[in-house]
Symmetry: C2
Subunit: 490 residues, 2 copies
């Protein structure tokens, strides 16, 4: 009744690549035979000794495989007369599995239909080799890695019982308190810890707000030059986007006002501090007009204050949220720039009923954040380590901004012009008439220099005579080299 064991060896060979233990590969080979219909309900398996000899393995290995088959119900409970394929499997059909390749890993088919997914290529540009003048990251060499490691260790050792258990999706109370204190002290927000929801970076803040706020068909106004990952998050939640022009005073709130006369909008997404990507600061008059417009028309102002700390000339401008008396501003911040992009912590400050909704949505997204990390970063904020790091980085970046501005004026005055930005980590330059920035960027690639041009930020994707040159991640030597390559590529 037992089948020639040579039949098995094929599948056992196939499974040799899988890294699974031997007994498992044997039981899997047997299961495959059952599924193919070559071993039928009620049939007897070879004796363990016989199979062990044929396969040249230890008998205990075969016994372990048989034990597993019994445990999973593939075979009948052990009997003296041998091991039998379970009769309960009578409905097994010689499966479609036969179609699958039996050698090597078959290409997994797809057994159900799928919606078109967001285009990842559009979200994450291919990595191009060379100096990344296009980056939007701070200098990781400055990141307070050891301080963070120490704080993380302290959190795990001293607070293991709380940070390793389930916690509240609004965020660890200690981090919320530290953030509220920081926002009150340096950004004019009258916050206490209940006014803060912690998120996994500013992208989650944007996604959460979209989930809580938007219904399919809602209109969200965005900056005509702006931050694409936010746009895609809004669209993912059914929003229709309408672009608003930007100039050296930030978003043209007058144009937004005109737009809202034609179409009711649900929200506007805006980067008032250092407009992304142009680095322009929204003027005081437009700030007031925007808040007033939102109050009258009852739309939300989603204020993304992604790099508040990096302001070099005078003090940072206070957020719109600090002047919001009507409860229209949803304020989003991040610790990605102050610490490092890999530290996935952001936050939202908003009217409390929105915060309650965000908290519930966060629970459904990932239940809660990493409370060990949240506790550790709270300690860094309380001790002032994070602020010290930010001050040091600001000094260094200011020097780099000035260095790059001088180098550009010296080397490329004929080809581009710019206003030195009061803050941010990049200089937004305008090309001289006749200079095609996209061709320039293409040539720069052959000199191993990666540049971001305006069209990558443009709502309509059309060329504009601007480039964004990021200075924060480069020291002076690297900046000089970048400008040299830029010159050569002209």
């Amino acid at each position: 009744m037992s089948r020639p064991v040579s039949d098995w060896s094929l599948d056992l060979t196939v499974a040799a690549d899988s890294g699974a233990p031997l007994f498992r590969r044997i039981s899997q080979g047997i299961i495959a035979e059952i599924r193919r219909g070559r071993l039928r309900p009620g049939e007897r398996l070879p004796g363990s000794r016989t199979l062990a000899t044929t396969l040249q393995v230890n008998r205990n290995t075969v016994l372990a495989a048989y034990e597993e088959l019994a445990g999973e119900g593939w075979t009948e409970p052990a009997r003296a007369s041998g091991t039998f394929v379970s009769r309960a499997l009578a409905q097994v059909r010689p499966a479609a599995a036969r179609r699958a390749s039996r050698r090597g890993r078959p290409a997994t088919p797809m057994g159900f239909d799928l919606e078109r997914a967001p285009d990842l290529e559009q979200l994450i540009p291919a990595h191009l080799p060379g100096l990344q003048f296009s980056g939007s990251v701070p200098d990781l060499r400055l990141a307070p890695a050891s301080e963070l490691a120490r704080a993380f260790r302290r959190a795990l050792v001293k607070q293991a019982r709380t940070v390793l258990s389930y916690g509240h999706p609004q965020g660890h109370p200690r981090l919320r308190a530290a953030l509220a204190h920081m926002l009150a002290g340096s950004r004019g927000l009258a916050t206490v810890s209940e006014d803060v929801v912690v998120t996994s970076g500013s992208q989650m803040a944007i996604d959460l707000v979209s989930r809580a706020l938007l219904r399919p068909g809602d209109v969200v106004a965005v900056e005509q030059l702006g931050y694409r990952p936010a746009w895609l998050a809004f669209r993912q939640h059914g929003a229709r986007l309408l672009p608003v022009p930007v100039d050296t005073g930030g978003m043209q709130v007058e144009a937004l006002a005109a737009l809202t006369e034609r179409t009711a909008i649900r929200a506007v997404y805006v980067t008032p501090h250092h407009q992304y990507p142009t680095t322009a600061t929204l003027t005081a008059a437009r700030r007031i007009a925007l808040l007033e417009l939102a109050r009258r028309q009852r739309f939300a102002v989603i204020e993304d204050d992604y790099d508040h700390e990096f302001h070099y000339d005078g003090r940072p401008v206070l957020p719109l949220a600090s002047a919001d008396r009507a409860g229209v501003v949803v304020y989003i911040g991040t610790l990605a720039k102050i610490l490092a992009p890999g530290v996935r912590l952001g936050y939202v400050v908003a009217p409390r009923s929105l915060l309650a909704s965000l908290t519930a949505h966060r629970f459904l997204i990932d239940r809660q954040g990493d409370h060990t990390l949240e506790y550790a970063v709270a300690e860094l904020l309380e001790a002032g380590d994070a602020q010290r790091h930010a001050r040091r980085a600001r000094r260094i970046y200011q020097g780099r901004r000035d260095f790059l501005a001088r180098a550009l004026r010296r080397e490329l005055a004929d080809a581009l012009s710019f206003t030195t930005p009061a803050g941010g980590i990049a200089i937004w330059v305008t090309a001289a008439p006749g200079v095609d920035v996209d061709r320039w960027a293409a040539r720069a690639l052959t000199h191993e220099l990666v540049i971001a041009t305006a069209r990558g930020y443009a709502f309509d994707g059309r060329p504009q005579p601007h480039m964004r040159l990021s200075f924060a991640a480069f020291n002076e030597e690297e900046l000089s080299e970048a400008v040299r390559r830029l010159r050569r590529a002209l």
Copy 2:
């Protein structure tokens, strides 16, 4: 022309609670006056000396406040004749702000309308004091906290440049490889690192799959006794849920088959290993029938294998995914049980086109996970530390399961009955006729014992004569005490 400064002091007093530095509170007080229309465009502010004297502050503090006002455009650029409110603010209206309370923090109004949010109360039960017999957490006292802290430190110190920068939303390659190896070695999944998407816990896996798979109106079949946070995530993405009964052999796949004859379903969500909450293992015959049904009807089988490691009698049953030849299974796992719930790492294994979609959706949700943590846990898996911890926990939990089973049989044989579960972290008990479990649970609260009854897991929310008693987080002394209190509450 300057106003009596006494007018200001009111607002400065208000802001005293905010924790903001003094100069900021002064500038905010002035901004508030401008916004209220009491200081008009073109008006002159008091001289810095005068204001400093009146407020009894250092003159530099007032200068800092004025500098800030100028930087933000509230006042005209500095002139010898004094500081003037900016004429560009001509459109300021005596704002609605006047309505806001000027003493203490006003309750923030809500300047826009909001959809009804998911009910957080339903998601996170109120914390009730006492022994948590209702928990679904492992014993945090066993968590490998120091190993994790050391690995995190190594990742930060050795890999700062990569883990602190932006990385790929699919997950750190090293963790994906370690997970693929683990799944191949112990769960019969023929995976390589490309077959894995890392998530922030299993809840994010469920949410991501919902986002990628579901359209409003899609039907998802769920277990009649089951995991509510998953249901709410499906509903959040527009799904209509239909319940399928469960028994001691897990989900009644026969009932599912009958259901699919009446209604096309998009997916079924199932916990085959230790059914949640009943701990039943899905029988081999039902496994085969489920895969075959899904293949024929082209629906997805979302397999949540949340506590694979904790199987005590015989070896863990292999996941449905290990037998999936048709590409219908979406396999979800988590490290929350193997390490600790606070370690927010889960994963999905599925056909690659779904994985690509999950990765893109993850980018929109929070860009990427915490790659420092992912790298650190990859090391723990590679070194076998995580597996060693899981083996140790399994031994201990098996002892606790047996201890609780004995204690229940000794103390409460008259009131309840059960089958000792082959795995999981809880015993699912059935009350004797005439015993009302919900009343029992209510009385237990007065004895400081928190119990979970079946109705909390029931799709229809109706009472059933069952309770779930969690043994993993209690040592023998605590288990004895819990059973004593349970007895007393009867």
